[in-house]
Symmetry: C2
Subunit: 343 residues, 2 copies
């Protein structure tokens, strides 16, 4: 079983894969993401290579694990964390560890190996985000879980090992460091200002306008004031909401619409860039929080200059967010199938 270990200085947990460690030279000869349909375990006809489906959207009457689905959620075949067992928290001298208990799932976005999210029909794009909600609500029942991290790696430079469009979900027995920092920053701000920092950001961005990429009735898409990366872009609900999983279907569809148009803008401006997106939502066991506000962070992976950033937390961004927003705002959206703002 993988092990969770806590950094004794700053308190950050990491997953150490203790069992299936690679040999040193395996890291050197890195593989390209599986690009060919006939080897892809997520493609129809090959799907027997994946674990059984946990959730699927399909026409009525279809048998489990048979073809004919449009969204399919399966366990990761090489999970970072195992579902079985106790946490067994224990010390190791001054150090702290626990068992690597959690869940690691893959959300396959569509049966088509080459389709991009922004090319999906709007209802299908909405189903994708709806499946996040369904999986969170299901996994939330497990009292061992404290947080669910949903993210997507697109392209080799962003860490994707399979080219077939998919997102991932990791359920964790702790809250990840960056989310904790955002919560604690939000708490400090509300103590002083008696307002949500995220709501204040939404309000300032709407009036400043220069960093807005796109918006609709319920969501704002903008380049953050202190963006760490070129073309870093956030999508955030305009109205205060701490937990993603409390979002209703009409809002989910408007979120999907904005995510489609944003990814299409990035594709058009940056030429199919590698990117990650990460959903930051409030911890599972928290009641609605006045000082935290869920959002999706989209980070194109355009530069290699991030090496030392890992060791310092200090970022140099060669692309002012105002300019990034302008490029994205003015992007050609011809590749979107339906009007992006269809509410």
């Amino acid at each position: 079983m993988p092990e969770l270990r806590k950094d004794p200085i700053i308190g950050r947990w990491v997953i150490i894969a203790t069992e299936r460690a690679a040999r040193p030279m395996d890291f050197a000869k890195e593989k390209d993401p599986v690009a060919l349909n006939n080897n892809c375990p997520f493609c129809e006809g090959q799907k027997k290579k994946t674990p059984p489906e946990i959730l699927a959207y399909h026409p009525p009457g279809r048998a489990k694990d048979s073809p004919d689905w449009w969204i399919s959620v399966v366990s990761n075949k090489f999970p970072a964390l195992g579902v079985e067992g106790d946490l067994d928290r224990r010390g190791d001298g001054i150090y702290d560890r626990m068992n690597g208990v959690g869940a690691h799932e893959v959300i396959i976005e569509c049966p088509d190996h080459d389709k991009k999210y922004f090319e999906l029909a709007p209802i299908h794009a909405g189903d994708m985000l709806w499946s996040f909600r369904e999986r969170i609500l299901d996994l939330k029942k497990d009292p061992r879980m404290e947080y669910i991290l949903i993210f997507k790696n697109h392209g080799k430079a962003a860490g994707a090992s399979l080219a077939h469009p998919h997102a991932q979900l990791i359920a964790l027995p702790m809250v990840p460091a960056h989310v904790k920092q955002e919560i604690s920053g939000g708490r400090q701000y509300i103590d002083f200002k008696e307002r949500c920092i995220f709501c204040d950001i939404v309000s300032q961005e709407l009036s400043a306008k220069s960093r807005i990429v796109d918006e609709n009735e319920d969501f704002l898409c903008f380049a953050p004031y202190a963006s760490r990366f070129p073309f870093e872009t956030w999508i955030i609900p305009k109205h205060h909401q701490s937990h993603f999983e409390t979002t209703e279907r009409p809002q989910i569809d408007r979120m999907a619409s904005l995510l489609q148009s944003t990814l299409s803008r990035m594709d058009s401006v940056l030429g199919n860039p590698p990117f990650n997106y990460i959903l930051h939502s409030a911890p599972l066991k928290e009641p609605p929080m006045a000082h935290f506000h869920w959002h999706l962070e989209i980070i194109p992976k355009l530069t290699h200059v991030a090496g030392f950033e890992w060791g310092s937390g200090f970022y140099i961004n060669p692309m002012p967010p105002e300019q990034a927003a302008k490029y994205l705002r003015e992007a050609n959206l011809s590749s979107i199938k339906e009007p992006a703002h269809a509410n």
Copy 2:
């Protein structure tokens, strides 16, 4: 002038290069590091392409900026921060910014384009670290500066744009986020335990032995218990010391010896891997701190899986540090010119 902007949620500063922004497609066609001697501005004969030297180690009687040096420190030709001007801290609605005042220097390790640090003569390797100390002591006189970050990018994947061996120095008007977190973690620990967390780590690693890579009289080289990255390795003084710049020459030489052997081990085990190292020292204006302890973090850049880590602060490490340490400990050190442990 570049701009420093503060993230309003978690308080992390970033440098936004407001003037020389690249066009979007420039990010797509990334260049390889300059690999050819005849184009390298750090090679002898081409050095007129670099700004004038700030510090050089050379034989007596040599004229400034003439050939015949073994270490040369120059300003970065494309600095992330400018030396001139006031900080001019100001608000922008809920946001905070200041002018991008600081220094950005390059420490050229040797005149030879193809030499690696571990191939240098021991005295020369010691001079390299000594030049860090000299530059810190000089820049510390500038009251605008709060922190000096010294780091090295080796290889394209680690962010190097020039192949000629060099390290970099950035003097900043604030303390970087990760160092702040380490200081605050150290403060919490000392409040509770009345001991330095770093000293406790040294002591536990020396007795556990399994994560030790190498050691000498003054320094320990080990793989941290909660390593974020495969083969992450730290070098730390065995005796408490908060500021790197208070290190004396005999210790600097022993540090250089251990850094040489460690980089040689990595080279031998991982085949000339891209890597970063980052020096974490106490903030310039702090008196000696009982709860912080300087150290050097070495991070080979072996995997692309770090995409979503940026957005979560959550790391999955496929190489247990005990195994990484064993590989490095048992590495073939034939490429080192002198015994690594020459004290």
